[in-house]
């Protein structure tokens, strides 16, 4: 099984993990993209939402498991066919939540390109934007190296 491991700077990443956990916690009973259920038949809507929240929570659990006690010591995270898809989806959910909570003031071009002087932001937007970019980097790594595993899975 193909496996990709990356070693991260604990000094740089550990402060971001708390922000990611907080954003992830806020999604425990809430969808990252909640405005897209209006066209679903009303009698289906609640079950549909519950199933989406459940799938979202499962994926977020897999993402947060990357940053366990072992990570705190080694700074290494690993991706393979088993966790690539849920981590990819969880990163999307948390990025959407970070945008909604902390980054609404940023225009769409900045959000798409990530091209911004971090120093121009005040906390908590500064740390949120760093998390936003960090999670995008994880997504890009997974897509670059494990897309075949996801498509075949």
């Amino acid at each position: 099984m193909k496996r990709v491991e990356i070693r991260l700077s604990l000094e740089a990443v550990l402060p971001l993990i708390a922000v990611i956990r907080e954003a992830a916690d806020s999604l425990s009973d809430d969808l990252a993209a909640p405005n897209s259920l209006g066209d679903i038949e009303p009698d289906l809507r609640e079950g549909w939402r519950e199933d989406l929240v459940s799938a979202q929570n499962e994926a977020i659990t897999v993402l947060l498991a990357l940053f366990d006690e072992t990570f705190d010591e080694s700074g290494v995270v690993g991706f393979d066919a088993d966790n690539a898809e849920p981590v990819l989806r969880a990163c999307a959910a948390v990025r959407l939540r970070l945008r909604e909570r902390f980054l609404k003031a940023l225009n769409e071009e900045v959000l798409e390109s990530g091209d911004l002087e971090i120093e121009s932001l005040q906390e908590p937007a500064r740390k949120a934007f760093m998390c936003y970019l960090f999670l995008a980097t994880i997504q890009e790594l997974i897509i670059q190296h494990l897309d075949t595993s996801i498509l075949d899975g």
């Binding site: 969808l31 990252a32 993209a33 405005n35 897209s36 259920l37 209006g38 066209d39 679903i40 289906l44 549909w48 199933d51 989406l52 799938a55 979202q56 990819l88 989806r89 999307a92 959910a93 990025r95 959407l96 945008r99 769409e108 071009e109 959000l111 798409e112 995008a136 997504q139 890009e140 897509i143 897309d147 996801i150 498509l151």
Partner: protein
């Protein structure tokens, strides 16, 4: 714009289908999800080729929306649900409403 419908209905089924509204699965633009991510999701969920997936992704990005599938409501809901599991912003539209 191409859309995809699976299956080969019988003539009776085709008649019934013709009387029912067709539903479109529409993906809306968001500034958060990466282009490469959206391409992967289209390939994974809808079975698009790389070329087809990139074309729909660019349509979403440049025009704000793309119809990625159309057909019977039940299957449209299946695709909408699967795309929402990947946190894309998806709506269903029927041709009756247009």
């Amino acid at each position: 714009m191409s859309t995809h419908e699976q299956g080969s209905p019988s003539s009776a089924g085709a008649t019934a289908t013709a009387l029912e509204p067709r539903w479109q699965v529409v993906v809306l633009n968001d500034p958060v999800n990466l282009m490469s991510y959206v391409v992967l999701v289209f390939k994974k969920v809808l079975g698009f080729s790389e070329t087809e997936a990139r074309r729909h992704m660019l349509e979403v990005h440049e025009q704000g929306r793309s119809v990625v599938w159309s057909g019977a409501r039940e299957r449209a809901e299946h695709y909408a649900f699967a795309l929402q599991q990947w946190h894309l912003t998806v709506i269903l539209e029927s041709d009756e409403a247009r």
